[in-house]
Amino acid sequence: MLNPIVTGAALVAEAPAQGGNLTLDLLREHAPAALPGWSLPLITALISVVIVITVISLLAMVSVWLERKVSGHIQCRYGPMYAGGWHGWAQSIADGVKLLMKEDMIPLGSDKALFMLAPALVLGAIFGAFVAMPLAPDFYFADIHLGAFFILGMSSLTTIGVVMAGWASNSKWSLYGSMREAAQVVAYEIPLGLSLMVPLMVAGTFNLLDASAAQSDYWGMGWFVFKNPFVIPAGILFFVAALAETKRAPFDLPEAESELVAGFLTEYSGIRWSFFFMEEYAAMYLMSLMAAVFFLGGFESPVLHVARQAEWHPILCNLIAATTLIAKSMFGVLVMMWVRWTLPRVRIDQVMTMGYKYLTPLALLCALGAALWEAGKAWIFA
């Protein structure tokens, strides 16, 4: 449905002629004249990539630590307490160092090239998806008109990496894991896209910046969930489908440690394994950010509204907006963790049943309802 090639083609066609964002503007104003004009977008892109990778990696590391603390406290224990002093805040760093130090093992009989390529592909795809994700109203890397479409396309590209990893590992458990991943992601792309249709209809745009801006009325509380009653069920459906997309429990069948040992990760170790791990957390953030933008008002909050009214410095406004968005996505991630540590795992055929027979019809119903509601609204107010 969301073929990345089609997405890419659409993107090129729709891409704005200039990259117009805060970084580029600043560069245009302050860059030394010696730099040729054509290099400025390139430098912008470079800066953006560095920022994306840093921010996402940091978020992933923090949320790994957070997950361990949340799971610990849910289970009446503390979680990491030693590394770094206060509540083991440096645990993720210590783990990262450990993973870097570990021997890089490639199993005998595996397809070496694919085995090494898979983690890179997975991580690259998920970072690529973040390109379309604005961090603040004036801080984004690409203002893509089909942003939502692009993100869904890129994030489903990770599936290819996972399937590749499972196939290349030359292990039966890995093969099971990757096949499950393929089946699962195909099944859940549909409800994911369909449930996203509902806020898209309310917003009337695929562009994340525009969608966010559309929720700024009513003191920054004009969120789509308050605008259309069908957005709330659609939000729940989106959340469930996003859980499945990101391979989180109760849909962690590709890993399924009690069934498939570790699924597609069985043969991976060290830093390659941690790439997959980072991808999982990055994907969690991506989906939470999507949910935050399309259901929970994006950057908008009363604080930002007040800041805008008072005409504070634009950088401060952008910081407030970014904090709001990250806080909202953090909330989504927390709920994902909470669900993970509560529920048992679903069986593979039930995953399929749930995707095709429950979520898809429900998402269709929501989309229909939302469409009628919007049409009715337009008809009444016209």
């Binding site: 009690s258 529920l343 795992r345 069986r347």
Partner: protein
């Protein structure tokens, strides 16, 4: 299960001539069966057991348990150490219910000796055996959640189990391998304040039990994962000699504690302190995984009832019967089967009148319960296979002994 090799792609030797002059090589692409070793180091096999499964996609078409990775010659050791010295070894076959193992072995030797056990010793034995049943059922419940991917109930169960282990530790000084019940009674009386702590545990446990039930047992995903899965019919269960919760889960109303009463269970049952829990097919078919795990979970509360009855009726007195220091067991043979948390634990002891047993047979319930896997696993999904193995609640120390 034959292990013939079938290549997944076979080429036909003769190419087919196409009209345009091209030649087409025909091939059969076959989605081959996979033969997978589930174990000995697989998270779902609860120890070192191997199940050789053949799968067609996600479907398990054949399964064959392979045992013996934890074989420790318990029966042979029994023929080489003195009667009392064998007691610590009984701790180690079903290491989750050591008190019950001690009890079974002691009862077998006591049957040969023909000694009377003081009533206080019987009371404390009953309390210990039942508390151990709760501790064991908590592991069964917790690890079953783990098998199905729910991590949290496992730690909640272990929280209560930890308290139980501390209670045992106070009585006998060990947390897992108790060696507390001995031939003729107990090694020593319980410390002061111990019975009060047990009573307190019973009160707290009731609340926590409700929590387990709400968190996992009635969870929709859990119910859908376990209901109608791995159905063992009544006839199958009897034919395979299943015992304990496996048998009761299939709807057979039989509990050795009530039906062939030993110790004080019969008395407690007559006093209305507990009743036998039988699977009713509440969430699906009778005899499915949910019924089996339900019987285990519900039995915890019945055990609390027995413990409460014992606490109400306990009296002062000696805890060790008239037992010689070096046991010489009269000639004869005895089989004693008791209701272990996993089923009938049988001890068959043969004596020729000497200090050492001639034959010391242990009938481990897990060993017998496991045999049914070959029958019920084919035709299920891989995830169900895990659910089924978990629902048999095997302890590999006991299957291999």
């Amino acid at each position: 299960m034959a292990t013939e090799h079938k290549p997944s792609i076979t080429f036909h030797p003769e190419p087919r001539q196409l009209p345009g002059g091209e030649r087409e090589y025909m091939m059969d692409v076959r989605t081959g069966d996979l033969e997978v070793n589930m174990g000995p180091q697989h998270p779902a096999t609860h120890g070192v057991m191997k199940i050789l499964i053949r799968t067609d996609g996600e479907m398990v078409t054949a399964a064959q348990p392979h045992l013996g990775f934890l074989h420790r010659c318990a029966e042979k050791i029994g023929e080489n150490v003195e009667w009392l010295q064998y007691l610590p070894y009984t701790d180690r076959y079903d290491y989750l219910s050591s008190m019950n193992n001690n009890l079974g072995y002691s009862m077998a030797v006591e049957k040969l000796l023909g000694v009377e056990i003081p009533r206080r010793a019987e009371m404390i034995r009953t309390i210990c055996a039942e508390l151990n049943r709760i501790a064991s059922a908590l592991v069964a419940f917790g690890t079953y959640g783990l098998d199905l991917g729910a991590f949290t109930p496992f730690l909640y169960a272990f929280r209560e189990r930890e308290w139980l282990l501390q209670i045992f530790e106070k009585a006998c000084g060990a947390r897992l391998t108790y060696s507390y019940l001995r031939i003729g009674g107990l090694f020593n009386d319980v410390p002061p304040g111990w019975l009060e702590e047990v009573a307190h545990f019973c009160d707290v446990f009731e609340e926590k039990w409700q929590e387990y039930y709400d968190l996992l047992m009635v969870n929709h995903i859990f119910v859908k994962r376990t209901a109608d899965i791995g159905v063992i019919t009544k006839e199958q269960a009897l034919d395979f000699g299943l015992t304990g919760p496996m048998l009761r889960g299939s709807g057979v109303d039989f509990d050795l504690r009530r039906d062939l009463p030993y110790m004080l269970y019969g008395e407690a049952h007559d006093a209305g302190a507990w009743k036998v829990v039988v699977g009713r097919g509440e969430k699906g078919t009778l005899g499915d995984c949910w019924d089996r795990i339900y019987v285990r979970v519900a039995e915890m509360m019945q055990s609390v009832g027995i413990v409460r009855w014992c606490l109400a009726n306990i009296e002062e007195g000696p805890v060790l019967g008239d037992i010689a220091k070096t046991l010489k067991v009269p000639e004869g043979e005895a089989y004693v089967g008791i209701e272990n948390p996993r089923g009938e634990l049988g001890h068959y002891a043969v004596s020729d009148g000497g200090k050492v047993a001639v034959r010391c047979r242990v009938r481990g319930p897990s060993f017998c319960n496991l045999a049914i896997l070959e029958d019920i696993m084919p035709g299920t999904l891989l995830g169900d296979a895990v659910a089924i193995i978990g629902s048999t609640d095997v302890v590999i120390g006991e299957t291999d002994r």
